[in-house]
């Protein structure tokens, strides 16, 4: 799941300062689940903006809406009229949704209301953490299902570095040393010998360092 976090209100305020008819548009999938962009957050943000404008003695007209996914063009059509009726869309979708909106409505200013933070899991209610960096070349088979690229602060492939203490990373005692976890897991699986081998240098070209990635499945295309 894509995890997002709403931008600081001051930043949003500055972004929308020139506009008086605003559509706050939520996305009801990933970022709703991470409490950054669902209808609940749309209502809260809209109320905040209204109060802020009221205090500044400025008029504002805010429409609140949320659609299932802002990353699919078909869904975007349902808000056609709402978009037409506003000066600006404050999108509470991830970066994908914001760009999809901008692509679908090229004449409209689409602003991002949140930061797309990472791909991760809900550890528990209210706590999310990163799991995958989308590097394009999965190595989880070799590391016991734990990703050192997303979860080691240095992205080491042959860890742990000397900063690993009590299973925690040197950058913070709140961060698990993923290499410790990898070792524990492989030990439990009786596969510790996997780590005897030196991990080869990684091909980063498929991870986005080789340019924007695209997948084409000929069998599915029109």
């Amino acid at each position: 799941m894509i995890v997002g976090q709403q931008k600081d209100f001051d930043e949003i305020k500055k972004m929308i300062s020139a506009y008086s008819r605003i559509l706050v548009l939520g996305c009801q999938t990933c970022v709703a689940i991470s409490f950054a962009g669902g209808m609940r957050e749309v209502e809260i943000l809209a109320s905040m903006i209204r109060m802020d404008r009221k205090m500044a003695g400025q008029d504002v007209e805010i429409k609140e809406e949320a659609i299932l996914r802002q990353c699919d063009f078909e869904f975007l059509d349902s808000v056609k009229d709402l978009v037409a009726g506003c000066d600006v869309v404050l999108s509470l979708a991830c970066g994908i949704g914001v760009q999809a909106m901008a692509e679908r409505y090229p004449d409209k200013v689409i602003l991002p209301g949140l930061n797309t933070t990472f791909m991760g899991v809900t550890e528990e209610m209210g706590i999310w953490s990163e799991r995958c960096a989308g590097c394009g070349d999965c190595i989880l088979d070799k590391t016991g299902g734990l990703c050192p690229i997303a979860r080691c602060s240095k992205g080491l492939l042959n860890g742990p570095c000397g900063g690993s203490v009590n299973g925690k990373c040197e950058i913070s005692p709140d961060v698990d040393c993923v290499w410790q976890l990898i070792i524990d897991r492989l030990k439990a699986l009786n596969q510790l010998e996997k780590l005897e081998e030196i991990f080869p240098i990684k091909d980063w070209s498929v991870s986005g360092h080789g340019g924007t990635r695209k997948i084409v499945r000929e069998d599915l295309t029109a």
Binding site: Q28, A32, I33, F35, M39, R40, A66, L68, E124, M125
Partner: protein, 866 residues
């Protein structure tokens, strides 16, 4: 229609009586509640707050009072007394005499006009005589039954002929002076005595002479918001706020006339003193006591808080007398401290912590019924049948059995309800009005009991004897638990043969299925419909059990100490080892010259700040046994506070008479145990009274080790049950719902709740079974709240509702579709506000409607600003 034949008669409308009525009525039986006064609620209703939670008892119990008065299966007879009972178990004929109320309850709207006009002023006994009421009165605004009553003794209509002022004032025409006393005859199957207690009326300390010497109950009324002082702490003589208050303990307890401890006074004094301190930080509050007996669940913490946070002063002493201070209304207290040094201190106000004794009317009634009473007039009961009297079919609960506090009285009330149902002669009323409630399905009429100790076995038998199938899950290969290691109860009853008999009954009961070597692996469902998977260690397969209720009775463990050379020297024994020795090696005991008992081993320590409750009594009981075997033996008991509460005080006085030496030690001056080269033991202890170190050469040492919570983390997780700071299970309400969990349909009993002796564990087991029957006996699983629902069009299966619901009422299916379990949802709305896509709805609490309400409330006020 139903026949009243085989109904149950509950005598006494206090907290225990009400509880017994409700449990019986909820299980489908018809109950008559006979209450002497005009209102139910008893002494509890007079209390300001209750320890150890500081809740207002009246607020919390109000619903129960109302329910009792309006339940279709309960008939409340106020102003009534038992005149006569004939017949025997299953076929009693009771004659009740009911005095007239003179006010028609159905008409009275409690408008209060009558009392306003009534010319007769009377001392208000509800307020302990402080303040006045009229001859027509309501005890307090929400008293139940909620209608006025005329106090004939003081009413001018009767005393001076002809006063009709109230009758004329009443718009509802509710007053009728012509009503006559009447006899009511009832056919009764079982009788429960819940007559409560009277406070001991002190004849010393000049209670009557000095206005600023008050009783503990008077103090409760002073502190009560609805009391005569409106909750302001003032002293009677000049209505000024006192600066110094002293509490004197054991007034009418632990003396020659009362060879027992009243059990509750220490805690209520601690409560009163700390509440007083909380209302006025500058107050000097001192409690003069002999032993601080705070041995219930969380009581020690409460006491520690009073001492450490509220700064209540605790003075270990004997008070000689209270004198007036000339020219003031102050009082001088002369007392001797532990070393015998006499001191004097002046106080503005003195509170006498009065002891409890059985009420005189009740004693008379019991004697008339031929019920056996002990020398203090408490009902004689067995530890193994704690609510049975000597007369079959008659049960007793609450303070008539022994002095006890609210939660234990409530437990016993439920236990008595359970016991009276086992008396097969009572017939079911089966009268429900379920038209107002939503119904779902029939409950599964099977119980699951986890833990096969005495508690679990008793619960099982209670269920099975009432015709419900019961599964008993035991993790070991035999039943009995820790009780197998015990010899005798404090009353001297033989535990070993009792447990043997119990095991026999359980194992041979056709409705009980005992699963040995088994544990719970998974559980699901709600009250009336649980489904639990059991793993049996001998088999790879798991067993699935469908059940309507669950009782947790997994017991506790014993602290394994490394102090005092335990485990190093074979002559340092645990109490079980001593029990065993008494049975098996009396000759070794005969040879011993000296024996030392060390109490509070592992209990009341910083890492375990609770009292294990049973160790003091057990130590003395065993010490007396040793004396029996070897009367010449020197026996020393090293203790911190001697907590022989209730009737156990008799053991203590007996031990003192037999020359057993008691030496008190402090936490920072623990005894030291050494062994010489030959393994001989030496105990060094500082004697507070002598003010010097004593060295005791001894042959044996027995350690009274703490009771510690068992390993029930897994059960807690599986059943989503809370655990308190000490690691014991946490019940729904410490005072008023002692054997229930917050989650409906799951109950707890025995040591899993807190440390306790076998009699209290058994009464909890019976109480839990009584609660369980209220669910099992239902025709339908019901709930009366609105439940949350989900707009599936908006739901993205984010799991928030499932994660946040405190009751686990939302289930997400494998396909990602959420479902609200109606019987589990309590309609709190917590999920509704957090649902990120606004898919969750609660009909009576719709988001839109609350926002509209919010707007509407704010609208008319706009005018103020302009």
């Amino acid at each position: 229609m139903f026949s009243n034949f085989g109904s149950i008669l509950v005598v006494g409308g206090g907290i225990a009586g009400i509880q017994a009525c409700l449990d019986l009525a909820d299980s489908g039986y018809f109950v008559y509640l006979v209450e002497k006064s005009a209102f139910i609620g008893g002494k509890t209703a007079q209390l300001d707050k209750t320890y150890p939670v500081n809740d207002c008892p009246f607020c919390i119990r109000y619903n129960e009072h109302m329910e009792c008065a309006s339940h279709t299966n309960i008939e409340v007879l106020t102003l009534s007394e038992v005149k006569d009972i004939k017949g025997g178990s299953g076929n009693f004929k009771a004659t009740i005499i009911q005095r007239p109320r003179y006010v028609d309850i159905d008409r009275c709207t409690t408008c209060g006009l009558c009392a306003e006009k009534c010319p007769a002023k009377v001392n208000d006994e509800f307020n302990e005589g402080m303040g006045k009421r009229k001859a027509i009165y309501l005890e307090y605004s929400r008293a139940v039954p909620n209608g006025y009553v005329i106090d004939k003794k003081n009413c001018l209509h009767f005393t001076e002929e002809g006063c009709n002022i109230c009758r004329e004032a009443c718009n509802e025409k509710a007053i009728d002076f012509d009503k006559k006393e009447k006899d009511i005859t009832l056919n009764i199957g079982s009788i429960i005595l819940a007559t409560g207690f009277d406070s001991v009326i002190p004849s010393y300390y000049d209670y009557d002479k000095f206005s600023n010497v008050i009783t503990s109950m008077e103090f409760e009324r002073i502190m009560s918001l609805h009391g005569p002082c409106g909750g302001h702490l003032i002293r009677p003589s000049d209505r000024k706020e006192p600066k110094n208050i002293a509490w004197l303990q054991c007034i009418g307890s632990r003396d020659i006339q009362h060879n027992y401890c009243s059990t509750v006074c220490c805690m209520y004094a601690v409560k009163q003193a700390s509440l007083a301190k909380q209302s006025n930080r500058m107050l000097n509050a001192a409690i003069f006591f002999m032993d601080m007996r705070v041995c219930g669940k969380d009581y020690e913490r409460y006491y520690n808080r009073a001492k450490d946070e509220d700064d209540v002063r605790f003075v270990r002493s004997r008070v000689h007398n209270v004198f007036p201070v000339d020219g003031t209304n102050d009082l001088l207290i002369r007392y001797a401290d532990e070393q015998g040094k006499i001191s004097e201190e002046i106080y503005d106000m003195v509170v006498l912590s009065l002891g409890l004794e059985p009420s005189q009317d009740a004693v008379k009634l019991a004697r008339g019924l031929g019920i056996g009473l002990d020398k203090n007039n408490f009902i004689e009961t067995s530890s193994f049948a704690p609510v049975n009297t000597s007369v079959p079919g008659i049960y007793a609960c609450g303070a008539f059995n022994a002095p006890k506090d609210i939660s234990e009285s409530i437990t016993e009330a439920s236990a008595a309800a359970c016991a009276s149902l086992l008396n097969m002669a009572v017939s079911k009323a089966a009268l429900y009005d379920e038209s107002l409630e939503k119904t779902w399905q029939k409950p599964v009429s099977t119980g699951l009991v986890v833990g096969g100790g005495v508690t679990g076995m008793v619960s099982c038998l209670c269920l099975a004897d009432q015709g419900y199938k019961a599964y008993l899950i035991e993790k070991t290969d035999k039943l009995g638990g820790h009780a197998l290691k015990l010899r005798k109860t404090f009353k001297g009853e033989d535990v070993t043969s009792y447990v043997k008999e119990l095991i026999d009954k359980v194992e041979n009961h056709p409705l009980i299925d005992v699963c040995f070597n088994s544990e719970v692996k998974h559980t699901d469902g709600y009250a009336g419909n649980f489904s639990t998977r059991i793993a049996i260690s001998s088999s790879t397969e798991t067993k699935k059990i469908k059940h309507g209720i669950t009782i947790m009775s997994t017991g506790a463990d014993f602290f394994r100490t490394s102090e005092y050379l335990y485990g190093k020297n074979p002559r340092v024994l645990s109490w079980f080892q001593l029990d065993k020795m008494l049975d098996e090696k009396p000759n070794e005991i005969k040879k011993a010259n000296a024996w030392v008992f060390i109490l509070c081993v592992g209990s009341r320590e910083p890492e375990r700040p609770y009292c294990s409750k049973i160790c003091c009594s057990n130590a003395i009981q065993n010490a007396l046994e040793l004396k029996k075997v070897n009367p010449d033996m020197e026996i020393y008991v090293l203790y911190r506070d001697m907590r022989t509460y209730g009737l156990r005080e008799g053991l203590y006085t007996d031990a003192q008479d037999k020359g057993i030496v008691f030496i008190r030690y402090k936490l920072d001056g623990k005894p030291e145990v050494e062994e010489d080269r030959d393994g001989r033991l030496k105990v060094r202890i500082f004697d507070n009274i002598l003010g010097e170190d004593l060295i005791i050469q001894t042959d044996f040492i027995t350690l009274q080790t703490a009771i510690v919570p068992g390993n029930h983390d897994n059960l807690a997780k599986l059943f989503n049950l809370p655990v308190n700071q000490d690691g014991f299970f946490k019940e729904a309400h410490q005072k008023f719902r002692p054997v229930e969990f917050f989650a409906k349909g799951i109950y707890l009993a025995g040591l899993v709740h807190s440390p306790k002796p076998i009699d209290e564990a058994i009464s909890q087991a019976q109480a839990a079974a009584a609660k369980a029957v209220t669910v099992l006996s239902k025709e339908y699983i019901t709930t009366s709240n609105e439940v949350a629902s989900i707009d599936l069009k908006l739901c993205v299966a984010c799991l928030t509702c499932a994660r946040i619901c405190p009751f686990g009422a939302v289930i997400i299916t494998g396909m990602g579709e959420p479902y609200v379990e109606p019987a589990k949802c309590r309609g709190c709305g917590i999920c509704v506000v957090e649902c990120p896509t606004r898919a969750m709805v609660l009909e009576h609490f719709k988001n839109d409607s609350i926002l509209t309400k919010c707007k509407a409330l704010l609208e008319p006020f706009m005018g103020y600003v302009q």
